[in-house]
Point group: D3
């Protein structure tokens, strides 16, 4: 049966030993969505400078957070990321901003947590910068979309999940 | 009209000046939910030690993240938190774990971001510890629930929001 | 005679005791300049998005660095900054970008180091983002321009200095 | 034509993907100079212990800053440095202290930023420890002196630059 | 009966709420000892420069660690330290180096953990710098010596303890 | 004769160059003991939840500290740890808790400092969580127990040491 690999047989937390795992090219893509009032989205998108800067600040925050992942998530291994990208799409219909974070590494463990952390912190940064006008925003649909490399191979999220 | 206070008149990002604001008792409560497969939730809840440790690790991660908030969110002010609590509820119906983070400070700015960051990082930690058995988990409903203190007074989330 | 307050009578380093100093409003302004090839400056200034993002990234880096000052400079006291601003001016004549960083605090010690650190790290970030096209850039004129609050009162840099 | 590799085609910041780059031995040497009043330099150089400690503190600060580089400069890759050296020379003629920082890595990207960051933070630390007697000090000539390894081969600063 | 205040009634960890506690002047002194071979101590003490630098590096490490205390010890509150001193005494009889760390704060909680952390990290730094010649060193007698300020008043360690 | 490799020939601190050293599997085990009053140990061990959480918090603190080692110990190299384990044993006879930390890496330098730092910070965390009931606790016997890999081969602590 499946078990939680971050706990040993007595239930104690540990950093799983990855010493025997080969170094492979790994990649993960995660998303986070920030749902907001239509007028907040409007404000965010209006004006060249303003738009640029909210997203620019959130992008830097997301990239920096990916690099801090093993400091934030207790049982994550330190990793030397090859690249991090954070992109934004706005969806007026859903009145939300969608964040896509993509991380790559040549390493022994996957980069799912780095991508999820980048997307989450970028979302929190958007919340922070817009909260003066819209305290009720919601961060939702924080999910792993895709994962490549390592023993488990290529994995893609399908609609039915969670 | 409303505007984004983290941007100056030219659209450049800045840390808003809080020098003139009075020090008051402030509190914020935020939540994050982690939706997972029923068997993942079962695994998480079964066994005394195991349950204890996943939640214990996620709780520490959340508390530590609240203290790192101004390092993660670029325009947040450094704060000397008076307290941080992170609690967990499981909902078998919804097949999710709900995280509640409460932060308090005697300060010049609110602690919404600290509470939201604590809840988010606790959720990411649960994801990390369970991802070996359930890669499709979703972090959702990351929202501010309540906020007290400061100029804007008492604010509570109502159902209709976002 | 004057002496270095960060060393005790035996020459050992220490964090100077500020326990007896009153909390006052303090402010400091520092600058750093990045001299570059005219074509690098041109590239930096051309195009709306591109310009926005180099300066936006450097601005965030500078603001974050101000908050990390006591972690970087061993004998600096931790401070709860009220505000940080980082601005940029380009000077085609001198072929340089000038960075101005302004920090404010209600505290027991000045914020000179925070402002100087913000300006320096913003300058290093510009170097990093342009080094692929101009490895010979020079960061220069990193100086304190102005300082207010505290026992030493208002201080302004005059041209003759250093 | 040359372009800024840290920005993608839409001008958004990103951490450049170094996944395809080979691991090679890389080295970079950077300098920073701190110009001060002659009496400040005198004070700094007089006395065995005192001299030792200002430079010893600045050396540690520089070494530690090299290791924090990817946390300070948003688009820098995390690196596992093989070595960091920080040395000091005083020039009574120019009334300045010159800092030399040398970093080495076996990695996929260069260590220019690590060396420049080490030199800059060592300079800021000298400023901090002497500012009580000389607020007008200037950090200048922060430059890359030499760079080896990687695709661009051996590069040395020549006098005409910047 | 006494209980552990860092655990709530269900045994869950929490950052104790200090919001109601008054700000007072607080101070704590802690020690750590590093026992080593007589020839290691000899090497450490011989030569002006060498001695200076091992202790100088360990002193900086201890001071910096005091400032990082709330990042290292999960349930510690962030504090704005007024001062940190780290001193060293060598005892040829016991063949050990004794480290004394003193921290002061104007705050709502004590600074015992900051002083103990400073002493411990200074001791670890001495271990690191001497381990090439003496792997069997032992860090011992890490204790709080004295504590002032706050509800519990003045406390001094007596010989019989622990 | 033996010398301190972290100091160059002039006595200045440096990060030793490990560029020429081969990558090997390395492991280190360190211990730290926390001596306390019998009733404190009793309190720590009584009750399922309470016991779990003190040790769970200390375990996370130790694991996180191992990853921060190069940020705490100035001349330590950054390392990408393969695994970290932190375990606890209680000894009613000696009225102490014994912490065992084991670190592994595939790298160019040993992981002694990471294991010693993990054990020390776990011990400090136990002190922090129990200090309200027992201020006189003592951290003692912080030692390296075993070390494998690298040029110096297998080393085990023998009773006579230090």
């Amino acid at each position: 049966m499946n078990k939680l690999t971050h706990l040993d047989e007595t239930g104690a937390a540990r950093m799983v030993d990855v010493g025997e795992k080969p170094v492979t090219q790994r990649e993960a893509v995660a998303q986070a969505c920030v749902a907001m009032l239509p007028e907040t989205l409007e404000l965010l998108l209006s004006g060249g400078h303003k738009k640029g800067d909210v997203f620019a600040v959130a992008r830097v925050a997301g990239i920096q957070a990916a690099k801090k992942c093993s400091d934030l998530i207790p049982l994550c291994h330190p990793l030397m990321l090859n690249s991090v990208n954070v992109d934004f799409e706005s969806d007026s219909q859903a009145s939300e901003v969608r964040i896509l974070a993509r991380c790559r590494v040549s390493g022994k463990t996957g980069v799912e947590m780095e991508a999820l952390t980048a997307a989450s912190v970028a979302a929190l940064t958007i919340y922070d910068m817009c909260k003066a006008v819209d305290r009720g925003m919601e961060i939702r649909s924080v999910t792993l979309l895709e994962k490549q490399g390592g023993k488990s191979g290529h994995w893609q999220r399908t609609d039915g999940e969670a």
